[in-house]
């Protein structure tokens, strides 16, 4: 078992990185390590965890901002936000079940992976769009801040965006500041059974192109999960046929009219069924966490971001290659895929995603496999050269999470 450092303060993080850079010992950088199974395994003599940097440091509900130390459990933040009827707009997912453990995510880990849930398609955007400020320790063992605690800030290069999604390879975030929004008072969903994925994507596009404020648009290729009653005459959809689900959220008193209007818009795609607030919330949690994908423990999982209209063709290719199971969110722009672990399946994903003009992340795979294949798409040559220089500018000794994203 590698040595695990959990410094209780920023100075401790600086010291840990300074030591690692001085003796050239790579550090596995993580919060609680809940997403360790993502991407490539890191070979490091020591683990540097931000878990002991915990706690909300600033919460101003009237200013819609919150700062927390990187190791603060996401659940702790969400509980505090709930007390003030606020939330993180990106709807960050909880992948504990997908990864087969019960380790809680930290806010720093969530930001470092830039993971967003169904509300990504709304005007609030991705988690990185809500990241107002960071404090981080670079590979130079220096404290660097970027952004701040205000909503609008274009002062200097935006290192928040660079660090979000950099998986601990460019710096160790010690504190993050996020933009918040009020929690919508009510929500409900409309579900429509469709003959195929094309029609499903078209239904989602119709909803997202409507003025009714759709905040979730998922396509469940094998229908609504069993055990989820749908509160409308007509009963649940036919098992096995795809179902498009659209979510509305706002003040409760606004929802009946909007649901009626949206139902009218969707009726050309099939029978539209209403899903009430409680079932809707449960269903969207399962979409958010990719729980509906239900991969077997030894299967691989890919997270693919693609232009929505290209999703049906992508799905067909994956089905033909290895009978992939799929879950689509973001109006079809996010495709979760799972299938038996093999290099051939991965190569099929790489090829199909390239053909569709999208990008993939190998989200979960057995260790030998994820160490052997590219877990992210290759970068253009010119960008790869820049990436190497950016990495060297922030982590000259190469001690922060080496090999996590690319071999």
């Amino acid at each position: 078992m590698a040595e695990r450092l959990c410094p209780p303060d920023e100075a401790g993080v600086i010291e840990a990185v300074r030591q690692a850079a001085a003796d050239g010992t790579p550090l596995a950088v993580e919060g609680n390590g809940s997403k360790r199974a993502m991407l490539r395994p890191v070979q490091a003599g020591r683990t540097l965890s931000t878990a002991a940097l915990s706690g909300i440091t600033l919460y101003r509900p009237a200013e819609l901002i919150l700062s927390a130390r990187a190791g603060t459990p996401l659940a702790e933040i969400e509980a505090e936000l709930e007390r003030h009827n606020q939330m993180i707009p990106a709807e960050p997912p909880d992948f504990a079940a997908l990864f087969g453990h019960a380790i809680p995510s930290t806010i720093g880990g969530m930001v470092a992976a830039n993971l967003s849930g169904p509300r990504r398609i709304g005007p609030g955007g991705a988690l990185r769009d809500q990241l107002l400020g960071i404090r981080m320790v670079t590979g130079h063992a220096e404290l660097v801040r970027s952004g701040g605690r205000v909503h609008k800030n274009v002062t200097g290069l935006d290192l928040c965006k660079l660090l979000a999604g950099s998986h601990g390879t460019l710096g160790v975030m010690t504190e993050v500041t996020l933009k918040l929004v009020p929690r919508p008072e009510g929500s409900l969903s409309l579900a429509v059974a469709v003959p195929g994925l094309e029609e499903g994507i078209a239904a989602l596009s119709a909803g997202l192109g409507s003025p009714y404020g759709v905040t979730g648009a998922a396509l469940l290729p094998s229908g609504i999960p069993s055990g989820m009653p749908i509160g409308m005459p007509g009963g649940p959809s036919l098992p096995g046929s795809p179902v498009a689900v659209l979510r509305l959220e706002d003040f409760r008193r606004f929802l009946p009219r909007r649901a009626e209007a949206l139902r009218g818009l969707l009726s050309r795609f099939g029978d539209v069924q209403l899903i009430g607030e409680e079932d809707s919330a449960g269903l969207w949690r399962q979409v958010r966490d990719a729980a509906l994908l239900e991969p077997a423990p030894d299967q691989m999982v890919w997270r693919i971001s693609v232009r929505p209209s290209r999703a049906p063709d992508l799905a067909r290719r994956l089905d033909a290659a290895f009978e992939a199971r799929l879950l689509l969110d973001w109006g079809g722009g996010l495709v979760w895929a799972t299938g038996s672990a093999s290099i051939a399946a991965h190569e099929a994903v790489v090829a199909a995603v390239a053909e569709a003009g999208g990008v993939f992340t190998l989200f979960r795979a057995p260790d030998p496999l994820r160490a052997a294949v590219p877990v992210l798409p290759a970068e253009a040559v010119a960008l790869a050269a820049i990436a190497g220089r950016v990495k060297a500018a922030l982590d000259p000794a190469g001690v922060l999470n080496p090999g996590r994203m690319r071999a």
Partner: protein, 492 residues
């Protein structure tokens, strides 16, 4: 006073050769010459929206394709010639101010809309398409491009990307960064790279996010894929006026606390109210110390509901005046004064500087009080316009550019305001960018370590510091650029 780096004498000496070479790369076309080199026509490019600073460039090139942009950059990289990118030239921070030895690459002729896809909710446009031009191209189907800087009639999307432009509706719809899907990026070496595309999230490092707001420090953008959104069913505004800035600030907090996110929440102080009213006759209450314009979206019944709730909240703060628009026309009337604010201030003062700090919204009363004290001590008037929901403060400092002392004072006053913004927990610029204007204040907000780190990232993209140098970073500490005596003076 802003210093510019010493021009490269070797480049100046080769001017004729450089112009000849550039003409082979960007030939003349139906819209005029591809390269501008004569002194008279270069004058048109000597400044931007920050017109107090002027400096004609060595040359201007007006490419019509990504290939031409790449060829010019490849050439300038090889010949070690500095480059200043330019869109419409509306920057309020001097982001497009030329250097005497630099080639300005103007992207205004790259103004085609390449693709509009309503099903995938995106548009692909060239960098020289105006911000409003995008919305106009998609409005027929009920869509719009969300970020709406005041200059949206003229400013170009390429410039919006480079400055990460905002607007009055950011509270709900976010800034430019959140409304982009991809760019065609040209490196200083002249390599063309597609970043992003039709999909929402990057895999790997978020280059799109880093490039957005980079003020031309990292490379040029020639094509942009933007998200387009379906417009709300309708929108309507109300006006609420209060006896003090403090009370107006409390009303803002109470509105946000109620769970309503207005699509716009604009604050004007007494001088701004008076200037706008004199200009636009919008019916603003002249006895108020502070006024809010609040806009909500939805269908008519939802608008009524939300405006009613907000009016009830405002009523708790003893408003001097409360006016809820009943119709779209009344809504336009409420906005009329605010939208004409810059012109209104321009009418009562020969010149003004438009500042752009951001503060924690709760600090507004304190900050306005301090700005009032500074106004007295500098002897210069100031009007304040504030995006109250997101904390972005625009003090308009009135001065006379024909009086160098007045200009000097206005600059010092502006710098003091921005230092105050940082002191209370905010930042130097919310949406206009650092440019040259705030360059020398960067060490107020950042430590030397932080600036060194940002410079190192620029160097990773532009090792020779040829891209828009002398902007964003204080000259001291920049590689390959030495400071020199003041090189530009206020015009007049």
């Amino acid at each position: 006073m802003i210093a510019l780096p010493e021009p490269d004498a070797a480049v100046l000496a080769r001017r004729d050769v450089i112009l000849r070479d550039l003409r082979t790369l960007v030939p003349d076309g139906p819209f005029g010459p591809g390269v501008i080199g004569d002194a008279i026509r270069l004058r048109a490019y000597e400044t931007d929206g920050l017109s107090a600073y002027r400096q004609p460039p060595l040359a201007v090139v007006l490419p019509t394709s990504t290939g031409e942009v790449a060829a010019v950059l490849r050439y300038c990289h090889r010949e070690k010639i500095r480059v200043v990118p330019r869109g419409a030239g509306t920057s309020l921070s001097g982001g497009a101010l030329p250097l005497a030895d630099a080639v300005v690459i103007g992207l205004m002729r790259m103004n085609r809309i390449l693709d509009v896809d309503f099903a995938d909710r995106l548009a692909v446009v060239e960098a020289g398409v105006t911000n409003l031009g995008i919305t106009q191209a998609v409005a027929g189907e009920g869509f719009f491009y969300a970020p709406d800087p005041s200059s949206q009639l003229a400013c170009m999307i390429g410039g919006n990307v480079m400055m990460n432009s905002g607007g009055a509706h950011c509270l709900k719809y976010g800034v430019t960064a959140g409304n982009l899907l991809g760019v065609t990026f040209v490196t200083m070496e002249g390599e063309v790279v597609r970043i992003g595309g039709g999909h929402l999230d990057a895999a790997g490092y978020d280059w799109l996010g880093l490039i957005t707001g980079s003020e031309g420090q990292l490379g040029l953008v020639t094509e942009v894929t933007v998200r387009i959104l379906r417009a709300a069913e309708g929108a309507r505004a109300m006006l609420a006026a209060f006896r003090s800035n403090e009370v107006a600030g409390q009303a803002v907090d109470a509105i946000i606390g109620s769970g309503i996110i207005p699509v716009a929440l604009e604050f004007m102080d007494r001088p701004a109210i008076h200037a706008c009213e004199a200009f636009a006759n919008a019916g603003y209450p002249l006895d108020a110390e502070a006024m809010l314009i609040i806009e909500v979206e939805g269908d008519t019944a939802e608008q009524d509901d939300l405006l009613g709730s907000i009016a009830a909240i405002c009523n708790r703060f003893d408003p001097i005046s409360l006016r809820v628009a009943e119709t779209a026309e009344q809504s336009i009337a409420i906005w009329k004064g605010r939208k004409g604010a810059f012109g209104a201030v321009g009418r009562i003062s020969p010149d003004y500087l438009c500042m752009d700090g951001t503060i924690p919204t709760g600090e507004l009363p304190h900050v306005l009080k301090r700005i009032g004290e500074m106004s007295d001590s500098y002897g210069l008037k100031v009007a304040n316009i504030f995006h109250a929901g997101d904390g972005n403060l625009h003090p308009l400092i009135m001065f006379d550019a024909n009086d160098p002392e007045s200009f000097r004072k206005a600059e010092a006053f502006g710098a003091d305001i921005l230092k105050l913004c940082v002191e209370v927990g905010g930042c130097l610029t919310g949406e206009h960018g650092v440019g040259v204007e705030k360059r020398d204040l960067m060490n107020v907000q950042f430590t030397e370590t932080e600036l060194r780190q940002q410079r190192a990232i620029k160097s990773a993209f532009d090792p020779d510091w040829l891209l828009n140098p002398a902007k964003v970073f204080p000259l001291e500490g920049n590689p390959a650029l030495a400071p020199r005596i003041p090189a530009v003076v206020p015009h007049g």
